[in-house]
């Protein structure tokens, strides 16, 4: 990389860290670029951002079944943070059509804030990731977290994304819709182990919402405690309609994130996320054949876990080791 390129990247990173919207937009356009030749500069840019991101900036995932109200909850949370003087970045993922590859990115319509508010919304299509995170989601979250105190990642809400989101953010909010019977489904799917906070949304529905919350708490009571010493998830009743529970949810996130940062959980989670990201990218590009060259998925994971920097560095470490870089 030439010094000129390096200097340009320094400058772009500095502007992103100041939350300059034009710079954030440019950085996002760059990290979304899937061409192999874009990788080197992406890695450099993300490394600069990761290093300089303030320690009190966090990424929060918002997941849950379609129709549960994820977008309205995100909007309410952002409004709460804005009122408290905190900006936010939002990465909203929508599914892509399997047939055409196209997508309708419609969440933005419900994420509207004052013109001068420090909010940045980028919509992503899940692209070839069936039900998963969008390929660029992890990098987008990293850029947004560098620029804003909170980066929200709203998932598609079906399938693999419910699992993958855990390693892409610092905390996960699971949004449940009262009376939908989702609790049981989630328990069966093992997804109840993932959230840090459960939002029983549409709390204005009254008794139905109360019952969903009670159901969920019952399930929690008979579930084994989460691994890794993390506290069991908190449960909050929220409503975008009335604003109820939004401050409570934000406070719950704040205190959990502060505690997790202090006891090293955030750092451990980001390390795991980096490995998952590198492995994901490697598998997408080189497939199982690439993994075989590294001695299988577990061996590859160990290599990825030893890398430092961001997921792109983990990817480079894997590619180098496999002789593919």
């Amino acid at each position: 990389m030439s010094t000129r390129t390096a200097r340009a990247l320094d400058e772009l990173a500095a502007r992103v860290l100041e939350a300059d919207p034009a710079a954030v937009a440019e950085a996002l356009d760059r990290v979304e670029d899937a061409r192999p030749q874009a990788l080197a500069e992406q890695r450099e840019l993300l490394a600069r951002l990761a290093l300089a991101t303030p320690a009190d900036h966090f990424a929060v995932g918002v997941t849950g079944p379609p129709g549960a109200g994820k977008t309205s909850l995100c909007a309410a949370l952002v409004r709460h943070w804005l009122a408290a003087g905190r900006g936010a970045g939002v990465c909203a993922v929508d599914p892509s059509s399997r047939r055409s590859g196209g997508a309708l990115l419609g969440d933005r319509a419900r994420l509207r804030f004052d013109a001068d508010a420090p909010v940045f919304v980028r919509s992503l299509a899940a692209r070839d990731q069936l039900g998963g995170l969008a390929p660029a989601a992890r990098a987008v979250v990293l850029v947004l977290r560098a620029a804003y105190p909170v980066a929200l990642l709203e998932t598609v809400g079906v399938g693999q994304s419910e699992i993958d989101v855990e390693s892409a953010v610092d905390a996960v909010v699971l949004v449940l819709q009262p009376g939908s019977g989702d609790t049981l489904q989630f328990m069966k799917a093992g997804i109840l182990e993932i959230p840090d906070v459960v939002a029983v949304h549409k709390w204005d529905l009254g008794a139905l919402a109360e019952r969903t919350r009670a159901d969920f708490e019952q399930v929690l009571a008979i579930s084994p405690p989460p691994s890794g010493g993390a506290p069991p998830p908190g449960v909050v009743g929220t409503s975008a309609e009335t604003g109820q529970g939004i401050a409570e949810l934000a406070a719950e996130l704040d205190s959990r994130l502060a505690a997790a940062a202090a006891n090293g959980q955030v750092a451990r989670r980001r390390e795991a996320g980096r490995a998952a990201w590198g492995l994901e990218l490697f598998t997408r590009r080189y497939g199982t054949r690439g993994l075989d060259q590294l001695g299988g998925r577990e061996a590859a994971r160990r290599i990825a876990e030893q890398a430092s920097g961001t997921g792109l560095d983990a990817f480079s470490a894997l590619a180098t080791r496999a002789g593919l870089a």
């Binding site: 055409s100 196209g102 419609g106």
Partner: protein, 646 residues
């Protein structure tokens, strides 16, 4: 002795209250007995003429009314006790009726002498026209406030005109028109809070505003089915005993959707045939008819164009023998069978809406909107494939010479851009004249009524007398209930079936996307207050089918909001859709703020299109461009060239 004809309507209003008043007085001296007022978009969406969102829109598609002072000018010299007034007004209907009632008080005209109609059907605004302000539930509450008030205080007034018209304009099938309209009427009736004994009277005051397209036999059957289902609903659901109160009273504006920009003179025939559908059947005949102008797809009609539409009605009523016969369809089993078919389909669709919890839930969830977007996509595809014939557009397109009707001056009205200046000055003068204490106290009264659930009509009338403006009245609504954005229906709408042509576009999108490093991303934007979104919806839907990632935020965006979306989303191309005639103000405003290539669609006269292209717009699409494949193919190439990925 022939029947009396229906009422001949002319929908009009423009520029300023003073200019519109002159127009109305002229029409009244020519024998018109009922005014049909077109309000401009700021008035319809609750903004004063000097609000930033009103830029380019004030006085454009109708008359601006900001206060009682404007209302006085609008009706200057027009006797309210003798002339009926139809107001096409919805989200701000409570306010416009309040102004009208206040004006009557000032003139010592008793309220029970007032005749006319407020459209006051906000439901269809979420589904098609887009001039809503707050969410469906508080909107419904305002509607019922007005119905309850009018039934007691303005007994001759039609407080609500439930609309199927706009549903057909966005592509609804006859069954959808009937089902969604009846569901909307039911939601209103179910929410009305009057003693049980008064309900039949309320039922009798509900009237309808319908549409009629070119398939006029089917349209006649549709109106017969409508009439029957309404009668049955009154009898069975609402216990209305008196058949007179169960009559399906409706007015009509015939279809503009089928009017073409190519060979526009053909529209004269189309309009005449469309009028047949709602006049042929005596038992289901309309009481009031407005015909669109032949040149609507080109731009704003001139007074002469409106006169031609009036003449078509007069020829039909007075030269033909239409009014001399009993119902000519009586005993026709062909008509009966088709009517029964439509009725059954409408019943089934109505049942589906009711299963989803009724109109409000079906609007909030996007069910109705999605169904309409899909129906329109099928209509558009049928025109594209030639399955649905449009003469002069997809069949019989060889013309001997260009239309002489549009030769000089483009055949449309060119609006004076400075007319709005007079309105802005009048508004400033009005604000300076008022007593601020009275304004504040009246607005407080309104706020309290909105918040505590008491009827909003009387506090609104008090606001009118105090000199409150339209923007202040609507701001109070926004403050108490919050602003609302309706589902676009596009995100969940199902796609058309694949074709070879579509496959080709997809492959090109894939190729360009690969060169760009990420998938082609398009922002579809609707700047300004115009809520006619079906063009934007069809482009968004088709572009997605072609493989674009499409950002569509819905209607009513400022140029700044559009520019911000374009930047934050990192789109490769922007498509703007504008049908209100405000393109010369809005498009340059967006262009100045963005760096990505931009295309525009809408009702845009060729002279304006040239100007826009000179200013940097890459392509301009008008109603004659019905081939979505071609439009999207061109958009791909425009984006590819601009980003060096061709």
């Amino acid at each position: 002795m022939p029947d009396r004809p229906w009422i001949f309507g002319i929908y009009s209003g423009h520029s300023t209250p003073r200019a519109s008043n002159a127009l109305y007085r002229a029409n009244l001296t020519r024998g018109q007995t009922r005014l049909s007022i077109a309000f401009d978009l700021p008035t319809q969406t609750g903004y004063d003429s000097d609000h930033p969102l009103a830029a380019g829109e004030a006085g454009k598609v109708g008359v601006p009314i900001c206060s009682l002072a404007d209302m006085q000018l609008l009706f200057d010299g027009i006797p309210l006790e003798r002339v009926g007034t139809n107001m096409t007004i919805n989200a701000t209907a409570v306010w416009l009726l309040a102004l009208y009632a206040a004006l009557a008080e000032q003139r010592n005209v008793p309220w029970n002498a007032l005749t006319g109609t407020t459209q006051n059907d906000v439901f269809k605004e979420y589904l098609s026209r887009g001039t809503y302000i707050v969410a469906p539930r508080p909107s419904l509450r305002l509607t019922t406030d007005m119905v309850e008030f009018a039934v007691r205080e303005l007994p001759k007034w039609n407080p609500v005109n439930v609309c199927s018209y706009h549903l057909q304009e966005v592509g609804a099938t006859p069954a959808q028109e009937i089902a969604f309209t009846l569901a909307n009427a039911m939601a209103i009736l179910d929410a009305i809070d009057v003693p049980a004994g008064e309900l039949p009277a309320v039922f009798g005051r509900i009237s309808f505003f319908c549409n009629a397209g070119l398939r006029f036999i089917e349209e006649a059957c549709k109106m017969r089915a409508f009439t029957r289902l309404w009668d049955e609903l009154g009898r069975e659901r609402y216990g209305v005993q008196d058949p007179a109160l169960r009559r399906f009273r409706y007015s009509v504006q015939v279809n503009s959707l089928g009017l073409t920009e190519a060979e526009p003179e053909n529209n004269i025939a189309r309009i005449a045939f469309e009028a047949l559908g709602v006049t042929l059947s005596r038992d289901a005949r309309t009481r009031y008819l407005q015909l669109p102008a032949w040149n609507e797809a080109l731009g704003l009609p001139r007074p002469w164009d409106q006169q031609l539409s009036l003449r078509i009605q007069q020829v039909l009523a007075y030269e033909t023998d239409l009014l001399e016969h009993a119902d000519i369809f009586e005993g026709s089993h062909v008509i009966e069978a088709r009517t029964a078919e439509i009725e059954a389909a409408a019943r089934a669709e109505l049942a589906r809406v009711q299963e989803r919890g009724g109109a409000i839930q079906a609007i909030e969830s996007g069910y109705m909107k999605r169904a309409l977007v899909e129906a329109n996509a099928r209509r558009v595809a049928a025109i594209e494939s030639g399955e649905r014939v449009v003469v002069g557009v997809n069949r019989f397109t060889e013309s001997s010479e260009p239309s002489p009707l549009v030769a000089a001056g483009g055949g449309i009205l060119t609006v004076q851009e400075d007319a709005v200046q007079e309105q802005l000055e009048a508004l400033r003068a009005h604000r300076a004249r008022r007593t601020s204490g009275e304004v504040e106290s009246a607005l407080r009264g309104l706020r309290d009524a909105l918040a505590n659930g008491s009827n909003a009509m009387r506090p609104s009338i008090r606001c009118a007398h105090a000199g409150v403006t339209t923007g202040e009245w609507a701001d109070t609504l926004r403050e108490v209930f919050g602003e609302y954005r309706a589902p676009t229906g596009v995100d969940t709408a199902l796609a058309r079936t694949a074709s070879d042509d579509l496959e080709k576009v997809r492959r090109r999108v894939d190729q360009v996307s690969e060169r760009l490093g990420r998938r082609l991303k398009l922002l579809v934007g609707k700047p300004g207050l115009d809520g006619h979104s079906s063009g934007a919806e069809q482009i968004a839907l088709f572009a997605r089918e072609a493989g674009f990632e499409v950002v569509y935020d819905g209607i009513r965006l400022t140029p700044e909001q559009i520019a911000r979306s374009a930047q934050q989303e990192g789109v490769h191309l922007i498509g703007l859709s504008i049908l209100s005639g405000s393109h010369l103000a809005l498009v340059p405003a967006v262009l100045a703020l963005v760096r990505v290539p931009l295309v525009v669609g809408g009702i845009i006269p060729e002279a304006d299109a040239q100007r826009l292209r000179q200013q940097g717009v890459q392509a301009v699409y008008t109603p004659k461009d019905y081939d979505l494949h071609r439009i999207v193919r061109e958009m791909v190439e425009i984006a590819a060239r601009a980003h060096d990925a061709a």
